[in-house]
């Protein structure tokens, strides 16, 4: 029996599947936390969750509502200071996966979470800002981006570079001295984009079940490259869906 599922659920499941067991993952709140906790409860029981609030190896029994949730500290192997989490744990490249999102992304995976429109001093919309993203993007071994896809968010050129993907193309990360591999996957509600090995341009490699290439192109603000025969992602399994929904249920009461 295959249950019906939403595009957002597919996105969470795809993000969770990208995390390998035993790896260490730098998690932000929202979709990344959902994905990481889903992975830990399905195929990756030994995934190490690291939150920028300083919790190393958190094993929350419910979805945390903020990166400083008490459930994280209570269940962590160790809680360290914020300077330590950035200096001793993130900066040296010890962390396998970092999750990022943002308001805009361009075809080289550069992300904007700072301003939209106008200029920096007088923006049309002032967003929260970069937070931990510049160094997560630089230092995690691999970056996973999770964002809903639309022409508003997938743009030819971002209004502000809050965190660097591949800069202006292949070789830029090396020139800049960034040591992590950069955004190896951009996971959306419509599919998955990965950097082209030759150009580092984000290229559609996987479609969500039910989505087609034209639909993804129409939701992308640049002329999206597509691999010859994009794989259709496997639909969420019954277990994945059940665990995902259980996790989500743990926060709905609080957020009502």
């Amino acid at each position: 029996m295959t249950e019906t599922f939403t595009a957002d659920e597919m996105m969470s499941v795809a993000a969770a599947r990208s995390l390998t067991n035993g790896s260490a993952c730098f998690v932000g709140i929202g979709l990344p936390s959902t994905a990481a906790n889903l992975a830990r409860r399905t195929h990756a029981p030994e995934l190490v969750l690291i939150y920028e609030s300083g919790t190393l190896g958190a094993k929350p029994d419910r979805l945390p509502l903020s990166i400083g949730d008490g459930a994280l500290a209570d269940t962590a192997d160790s809680v360290v200071s914020v300077p330590e989490i950035f200096n001793y744990w993130l900066q040296p490249g010890r962390i396998d996966f970092g999750f990022l999102g943002g308001a805009q992304i361009d075809k080289f995976g550069n992300i904007n979470s700072t301003i939209i429109g106008g200029d920096y001093a007088a923006p049309k919309v002032r967003l929260p800002g970069a937070g931990g993203a510049p160094e997560i993007a630089a230092s995690c071994r691999e970056v996973l981006v999770v964002m809903r896809q639309s022409t508003r968010s997938f743009v030819e050129s971002v209004d502000f570079i809050s965190s660097v993907g591949y800069g202006t193309g292949k070789g830029d990360r090396e020139r800049l001295g960034l040591r992590g591999r950069g955004p190896v996957k951009v996971i959306t509600d419509l599919g998955i984009m990965e950097p082209d090995p030759e150009t580092c341009e984000l290229t559609l490699t996987h479609l969500s079940p039910g989505a087609d290439v034209e639909q993804v192109r129409a939701a992308t603000g640049w002329d999206l490259q597509v691999v010859a025969d994009p794989t259709v992602q496997q639909a969420p399994s019954e277990t994945e869906l059940r665990v995902l929904r259980e996790l989500k249920a743990t926060i709905e009461g609080d957020q009502a």
Partner: protein, 272 residues
């Protein structure tokens, strides 16, 4: 030796118009009551420093206390935008707000440099982003051994550092546990410091993961039970998530915000 004061005495004595102040607490242990007392006392022209300005800074900005914000992420965690912060940046309401924007790693290292008595800190940070072009306090230094170029940020040494903790003893020694963020660095980096606590106890019982600030490193302690609400104090209270949700509606509208200020008794001496 820290002095035990009331919150209103402490704010009156420690915070002056024009000061640079830092209220820290990373989601947990946010010194919200101290922020409200600053609004109540009508402090003005403050430079507000905080890694994650959240609703208490939204309130300080909306109430017109701030001239400048030094920060790395200004949002309502788990909810969305800070509308008073946006209104100040986008429309200069109630007054223009200068901003000095960093990343979390940069801010954490600025406090650590401040606590260490160093003029600056180095980190692998900001590379390739548009932040250095907008923020004067991001520069570079070259490693004298390898020739590598690294980011440099200046020490942050606020006039006043304010944090909330679970406990102090009667001598003013402070203990906090759970997620302790950048609070030790904030107190040590600041010229003067205030710690609000859930309770003053006869003796601090050592706890796993606790950070202890000795009394001689703290200027003042004030007992303010619930002083972190709507954030939480592990072992004393839970995060009031609904309050963060409600703030979104209250803060979207200027009039709604001003009536909130009045309702909370925070508008009296604020002379906008």
């Amino acid at each position: 030796m820290a002095r035990i004061l009331t919150l209103s005495e402490a704010i009156a004595e420690l915070v002056a118009d024009g000061d640079a102040i830092a209220l820290e607490g990373f989601t947990h242990l946010i010194p919200v009551a101290a922020g409200h007392e600053i609004i109540r006392q009508g402090k003005r022209d403050l430079t507000l420093c905080r890694m994650t300005p959240d609703i208490v800074y939204d309130q300080l900005i909306g109430a017109g206390c701030a001239r400048k914000l030094v920060f790395s992420w200004g949002g309502n965690p788990g909810v969305g935008s800070l509308h008073r912060f946006r209104d100040a940046v986008q429309h200069s309401w109630p007054r223009p707000l200068e901003i000095e924007e960093h990343s979390h790693a940069g801010m954490a290292n600025r406090y650590a440099a401040g606590a260490s008595g160093l003029p600056f800190a180095i980190l692998r940070g900001y590379t390739g982003t548009d932040l250095p072009a907008q923020t004067d306090s991001i520069k570079t230094v070259t490693c004298p051994f390898t020739g590598e170029v690294l980011a440099a940020v200046p020490a942050l040494n606020p006039d006043v550092g304010v944090v909330h903790a679970q406990q102090a003893d009667r001598e003013g020694n402070v203990q906090m546990w759970g997620i302790t963020g950048v609070q030790k660095e904030t107190v040590l980096a600041s010229k003067r410091s205030l710690v609000t606590v859930e309770e003053i106890v006869d003796e601090l019982t050592p706890r796993p993961g606790a950070v202890v600030l000795p009394t001689w490193a703290v200027t003042a302690v004030a007992e303010v039970p619930g002083g972190a609400h709507p954030s939480y104090a592990q072992g004393y209270s839970e995060r009031d998530n609904a309050h963060y949700q409600r703030w979104d509606a209250i803060s979207r509208d200027r009039a709604e915000f001003e009536s909130w200020l009045s309702r909370e008794g925070l508008a009296d001496r604020s002379a906008r």
